[in-house]
Subunit: 244 residues, 2 copies
């Protein structure tokens, strides 16, 4: 908390990010635990510099946390209930970490600024989990991937944000062909189906799924994935518009 929040950032607005990755057959979300006494779990978030647009702010915050540029990012909803204030969270943080609150007048100003009611602009991002090395910021004790089905209790409405981002992802998985952002460049049909099953939390029938996907005509069939039992080796596919 060294920066001067009031001078640098748009007031009462935050960017909150639900960063989805896919690994071990599970859809996962990047969650940070704050370096504080007490259990304070949060979505990667940040504020909007007075000198940047909101989309650029979201890209900057994502790059800070994932090291990745040019990742798929979509704004899906703003969260602005009247009770969206950090005040109670900050009071609890102060109770458990009193030593943080006897600092400079600058720090006091920043804490007062943070205690305001905030309206959050929600973005979700889709990343290839193998390319990301989540980055600890000075406020983080840890930052890790959690299966979307077992996210810890987060502050404020962050758990609700994960659910709404998941709904947005489900809605657009097909019409915007989002799934490929969560996979490595080359993948088998089975891996793609397992991704869909993880996102929608339900099984798909193999033949139907394969037909539906191939009918979209967006996949390029590549070499077989040789695993030893060559007569059973499945084909690898690549998204035709793959750009990363």
């Amino acid at each position: 908390m060294n920066s001067n929040f009031e001078d640098n950032f748009v007031q009462q607005l935050s960017i909150d990010c639900v960063i989805f990755g896919y690994g071990e057959g599970q859809l996962k979300v990047l969650v940070s635990k704050l370096k504080l006494n007490g259990d304070f779990w949060v979505l990667p978030s940040g504020f909007i510099l007075k000198s940047e647009g909101i989309d650029r702010a979201a890209s900057r915050i994502l790059k800070e946390r994932t090291g990745l540029k040019d990742i798929y990012l979509d704004q899906y909803r703003a969260f602005g209930d009247l009770d969206r204030s950090n005040k109670d969270v900050l009071a609890e943080i102060q109770r458990l970490n009193p030593e943080l609150f006897d600092g400079s007048s600058q720090q006091k100003n920043d804490l007062e600024w943070l205690a305001n009611r905030f309206i959050a602009i929600g973005y979700y991002a889709l990343v290839d989990i193998n390319k990301v090395v989540p980055k600890l910021m000075s406020i983080d004790q840890s930052i890790d991937w959690y299966p979307v089905t077992s996210i810890p209790q987060l502050i404020l409405d962050h758990n609700q944000q994960v659910q709404q981002a998941l709904e947005a992802l489900r809605m657009h998985l097909d019409d915007r062909l989002l799934g490929f952002n969560l996979l490595p460049e080359k993948f088998t049909m089975k891996a793609l189906q397992e991704l869909y099953e993880a996102v929608y939390d339900k099984p798909f029938r193999r033949n139907n799924f394969q037909k539906k996907i191939l009918d979209l005509d967006v996949l390029e069939r590549l070499e077989k994935q040789f695993t030893g039992a060559s007569n059973k080796a499945p084909y690898l596919y690549r998204f035709k518009n793959y750009t990363q």
Copy 2:
């Protein structure tokens, strides 16, 4: 401009509303012309009271403009480019309406508040155009319905907002069964098809359309609409979940 903006409202945030209605076979949007010298056309907009959530703010603003409560309303996107400032608009208003700008210090404060960079939270609403009597606010010279295909040049990014709201409406017309919000309680299949054609700006084939809609199993078939030529009278339908 009698209220004290700074004391009453969340700073740098507005609620901008694309209010869709359907009449004379056309999808229309409610647009206001400001009571000023010069052509300043705007979407119905307002600010967020410090004492209300953003959804409630949007409902309040819509009720002020349409007189309707409980209308279909959805938040679809926030607009926050760096250059979203009212400064240039206000300068042009001042050039053409200098008499407005020699007022009280309170008015000067409000104008300064308004000249900030604003982030707009975009909502779209769907109304039965026959139930709405658009209301003039003190700042309006006129408020009228314009076909979505011939909206005047609006201030800031308001034209872009109409396009994005239209995209959101198209995306959800089916999956959320939104169309019925734009029709009176009872309608013919032909009227429903014409609504779809107006929203998507393309023709549908009559038999396919009727089958698709009936397969959704959301319509209740009512009496025939008698028009004189009784042997050709079409059936009227009602949305099963009709609640207004």
